[in-house]
């Protein structure tokens, strides 16, 4: 979906406005670095460790250029030469977010990024490749279907606290197993999944985790 890393401008990479002040660039850099850090929970299932490392290297490269006034001016000039439609800082230009001014009209082929093993595959059904449903998988399927947690709560009458605990695999905060199975079946129904399989898979995973802890 996003362009390959090497085709993104430094501004796009940092999600910083091309006319951004040095403070805005620095802030964008810090957020980007935190997002792709090894401890980031959001990117762990989207990018592999190697991909994150590559992105981080490119982020550092972007920061090295954009944080230096002279290098940034040269980079902006180069960017303008590559594609005059690109909005880069000129003293007279009106501010515009870099993300809204793509380098090309249409995106090329999807970025060569690894899809997580449990990423829901909507083309071939929603069952993950390994057939294991844990909280993360359920959450991803829900997001893929465009369903808010609140909507699940309203439909199933399950407390949001329990839904969050289920999706976060916080087993110590889950209701007793008999209720949990019922909850899982209701959630599965909302997501058009096989309730029995989801309940079996989730509780098996939970038991494995408890056994490992003991």
């Amino acid at each position: 979906m996003v362009r390959p890393l090497t085709e993104q401008s430094y501004y796009e990479l940092l999600e910083a406005p091309a006319e951004g002040t040095p403070q805005q660039i620095e802030r964008a850099y810090r957020i980007a670095r935190a997002t792709y850090s090894p401890s980031s929970t959001a990117t762990y299932s989207v990018f592999s460790a190697d991909e994150c490392a590559a992105i981080l290297r490119r982020i550092e490269e972007a920061w090295a250029v954009l944080s230096d006034a002279r290098l940034r001016r040269e980079y902006d000039a180069r960017l303008r030469r590559v594609d005059p439609r690109v909005s880069v800082p000129t003293r007279a230009s009106a501010p515009a977010p870099a993300r809204t001014v793509p380098l090309r009209e249409r995106a090329p082929a999807p970025a060569p990024l690894r899809q997580a093993a449990h990423e829901p595959d909507l083309d071939g059904g929603l069952v993950p490749e390994n057939g294991v449903f844990d909280g993360d998988v359920l959450r991803r399927i829900r997001v893929s279907l465009g369903i808010e947690l609140e909507e699940i709560a309203a439909t199933t009458k399950i407390n949001e606290h329990h839904l969050r605990a289920i999706e976060s695999n916080r087993y110590d905060q889950l209701p007793p197993p008999v209720y949990l199975r019922g909850f899982l079946k209701q959630i599965a129904k909302c997501l058009s999944l096989d309730g029995g399989h989801v309940a079996d898979s989730y509780t098996a995973r939970m038991r494995e985790s408890s056994a490992r802890r003991d």
Partner: protein
């Protein structure tokens, strides 16, 4: 996940992602509004949601970035408009 290639689906995805940020942030939204540092406070979570959003939404979707920003304001700010804070 299928590529999100329409504005409606992009809007929906943004809304789901931001409402998840709010749902999993606990009291942080209320505190952020009270102290007027909501977006700084939730910056990592918002950035992570944005990564997911931009990864799945086709760049040719009109107003792609703006739809995400609209969802941010709509869900995090307007959705919590009853919070007592000096900022309104």
């Amino acid at each position: 996940m299928d590529p999100v290639d329409t504005s409606d689906r992009a809007r929906r995805l943004a809304r789901v992602l931001i409402s998840d940020v709010a749902a999993y942030a606990g009291d942080q939204v209320r505190i952020g509004l009270e102290k007027d540092d909501l977006f700084e406070r939730l910056a990592p979570e918002i950035a992570q949601a944005r990564v997911f959003y931009l990864y799945h939404v086709d760049p040719c979707v009109a107003e792609r970035a703006r739809l995400f920003e609209f969802a941010l304001v709509d869900v995090l700010v307007y959705g919590h408009r009853r919070v007592q804070t000096h900022i309104w």
